[in-house]
């Protein structure tokens, strides 16, 4: 498998050269192969979101490099980066991040409009995607008129509509009930298996993490452990993840 995303000595500091300067990530080197499903876990404040923001071009590292498909993101201009994001990356967030001023249909169509897809193609594509997510009947609604699950599905539709190579998800199930959460995971799993989409997802939930093929555990700004699922059943993998989390909590007890 080819490397689709790589970080070399990724370091991120905040409040540079100020009294309260703080290094959130300390020289992380990491590789993601095309078609992998990676979960990022770790205690609160460990640097998971900082890590995901840096690998997804939302933020830039203080030191080190981020390469997507072999291209160093720092070498791109802001316009190139925008185009690159629109063509290669799909984002799903815990807070959905849909535009409240636009209907679900308009939100989902936005990446297509940005890519200058023909007007006649937009409606069928949005409707087909919405059908898959079971939100076809609420496309004319505004996000504020939808439930959390419906909004998250809308956000997923928007993330997937351009058939991105990589999906970046930050706690995507954090605001969903168990049923919606399971549906989301089944969909992500299907995309990964059937279409070979690379998925990098931050989560706190061991059950969600058990769908992945690799678990990256970040603690205090470094990758402390990596667990490969390989031939494990989902149950065995789930137990291993739970064990890792429990040992972390046990450490605090002691």
């Amino acid at each position: 498998m080819a490397t689709i995303l790589e970080t070399r000595n990724l370091t991120k500091s905040y409040n540079l050269e100020q009294e309260n300067e703080f290094e959130a990530l300390h020289g992380i080197s990491f590789k993601a192969e095309a078609g992998e499903f990676i979960c990022v876990m770790g205690p609160s404040g460990s640097g998971k979101t900082t890590f995901i923001n840096n690998i997804s071009t939302v933020d830039f590292p203080t030191k080190g490099q981020v390469l997507i498909d072999g291209i160093n993101i720092r070498s791109m201009t802001s316009n190139e980066l925008g185009r690159f994001r629109s063509q290669n990356l799909g984002f799903v967030f815990q807070e959905f991040n849909l535009l409240d001023t636009h209907t679900l249909y308009e939100n989902i169509a936005m990446p297509l409009a940005l890519a200058r897809v023909k007007k006649s193609e937009i409606r069928p594509r949005v409707e087909a995607m919405a059908r898959q997510m079971d939100i076809e009947g609420i496309l004319r609604k505004y996000p504020r008129e939808c439930s959390g699950g419906q909004r998250q599905r809308g956000a997923i539709c928007r993330a997937l509509i351009m058939n991105p190579k990589i999906i970046i998800a930050d706690e995507p199930t954090g605001n969903l009930d168990r049923r919606n959460s399971n549906e989301f995971l089944a969909l992500i799993d299907r995309l990964n298996r059937d279409k070979g989409v690379t998925i990098i997802m931050v989560t706190h939930d061991p059950l969600v993490a058990s769908y992945s093929s690799r678990l990256v555990y970040i603690k205090d700004g470094v990758i402390e452990q990596t667990i490969l699922r390989e031939n494990m059943t989902q149950e065995q993998y789930f137990e291993k993840i739970t064990e890792l989390n429990a040992s972390e909590s046990r450490g605090y007890l002691e």
Partner: protein
């Protein structure tokens, strides 16, 4: 409780700032107007007042300032609903809520009245000069106690009523509703009024009423009637024709245009906020123009009307501008999201500029249909000099243009 109120003020500095500026501008305007109206040249006295035009004008101007402050208060307190809920959850009483609310508005009021009166005092020589050069009536700047007392009284009364209103808002709503914040209730309109064919009646009425002002040669006060009917038609036109048309166009016509899809969608939301201001613009222009037509033979009263226009229109424009800026500054997250899904910085800059252009352009055009027609009609009937009509129209368009440029600058730097 006082410390909590202070913290709450600091937490929402932008909204508090907007509220404060509205207080300052209103008190400055009221002070200037009271000073002018109560001068020997005009002679308004609110004690043993007579039912003459300057008295009506004074009441109208003060009333409009009160409306502007109420709008700002409404906008401010909706954001505070979370804080009110937390106080109630922690066992606070409604008495403590009064303390919390009164302290915040009290501080803003205390900080604004001296600034407003001070600014008014500084602006007064210029105003007196304009007044004298155009009407021949001399108004001397005497720091009379009456205008200050009246201005302070109006603002203090307003703060009291605002506090009562805010308290009523928290009393009517459950803690859960307060925590969720602004939840809009969709009011149902009778189907007949929303039928596709009826929708286009509103624009026709709006334009028709504007045209009917030309029929009021013998009775210019009838213009008021057409103006009010036009304001109501404008409300229907924005709600039932313009917004639905924008909804349809954004979803169908402009869906393939990345920039237009975003800025027209944002403009559609802005319009819902701006329609009240458009109504106020038309309403104010309508009343003042009609009053002006009736006072053209008395230069002092005529100038008083003209100066009311010159002060009220910028007050309304600034109030709209601050309201828009405060709303737009909360859109940082939306623009971050757009950036994440692939919009470049350059595109976002363009989108923000076009949104501002659409909003201010629409408000200016819709209000000018009335302002320009009323003024043209008054000019044709020789009720006001054409040059004055041109000055008034230019003043309105100029105020909007200046506020539009400032809004554009603010929104570019806020997000």
């Amino acid at each position: 409780m006082i410390r909590t109120a202070m913290r709450s003020l600091r937490k929402d500095l932008d909204r508090a700032g907007f509220f404060w500026i509205v207080f300052v501008l209103s008190s400055m305007f009221m002070f200037l107007f009271f000073h002018l109206a109560m001068s020997d040249a005009i002679g308004v006295t609110l004690i043993n007042s007579s039912n003459d035009l300057p008295t009506y004008l004074t009441v109208f101007n003060v009333g409009l300032c009160i409306v502007v402050i109420f709008l700002a208060n409404d906008f401010y307190v909706k954001k505070k609903s979370g804080d009110l809920a937390v106080i109630l959850i922690c066992g606070g009483t409604y008495g403590q809520l009064v303390e919390f609310l009164l302290f915040q508005t009290g501080i803003l009021m205390a900080l604004s009245i001296p600034v407003g009166i001070g600014l008014g005092y500084l602006c007064f020589p210029l105003l007196a000069l304009v007044f004298w050069s155009m009407s021949g009536c001399e108004v001397r700047l005497s720091f009379g106690l009456q205008p200050v007392v009246f201005t302070a009284c109006v603002i203090i009364l307003e703060v009291f009523w605002c506090t009562m209103l805010n308290l009523g808002y928290s009393y009517r709503n459950s803690i859960l509703t307060l925590l969720k914040g602004e939840e809009k209730i969709k009011l149902k309109t009778p189907k007949l009024l929303t039928a596709p064919a009826i929708r286009w009646v509103y624009p026709a009425l709006y334009l028709g009423c504007a045209a009917l002002v030309y029929t009021c040669k013998d009775a210019p006060e009838r213009m008021l009637l057409w103006g009010f009917a036009g304001t109501a038609a404008m409300w229907g036109m924005v709600n039932k024709a313009v917004v639905p048309w924008l909804e349809k166009s954004v979803s169908e016509k402009w869906i393939h245009d990345g920039d237009k899809l975003v800025y027209m969608g944002l403009f559609r939301e802005d319009l819902k906020m701006a329609r009240l201001y458009i109504a106020l613009f038309i309403f104010t222009a309508n009343i003042l123009c009609a009053l002006m037509a009736g006072t053209v033979r008395n230069s002092g009263e005529f100038m008083l009307c003209l100066l009311s226009f010159a002060l009220l229109i910028p007050l309304l424009s600034l109030s709209l501008m601050f309201r828009f800026a405060t709303e737009a500054s909360g859109r940082k997250k939306q623009f971050d999201t757009l950036n994440r899904i692939g919009y470049t910085k350059e595109q976002l800059r363009r989108i923000k500029n076009r949104e501002v252009l659409c909003l201010y352009g629409f408000i200016t055009a819709v209000s000018l249909v009335y302002i320009a027609n009323i003024l043209t009609a008054l000019g044709i009937f020789h009720l006001i000099p054409s040059s004055i009509g041109a000055v008034i129209a230019a003043l309105f368009a100029g105020s909007m243009a200046v506020c539009g440029v400032i809004s554009s600058f603010q929104i570019q730097n806020a997000a």
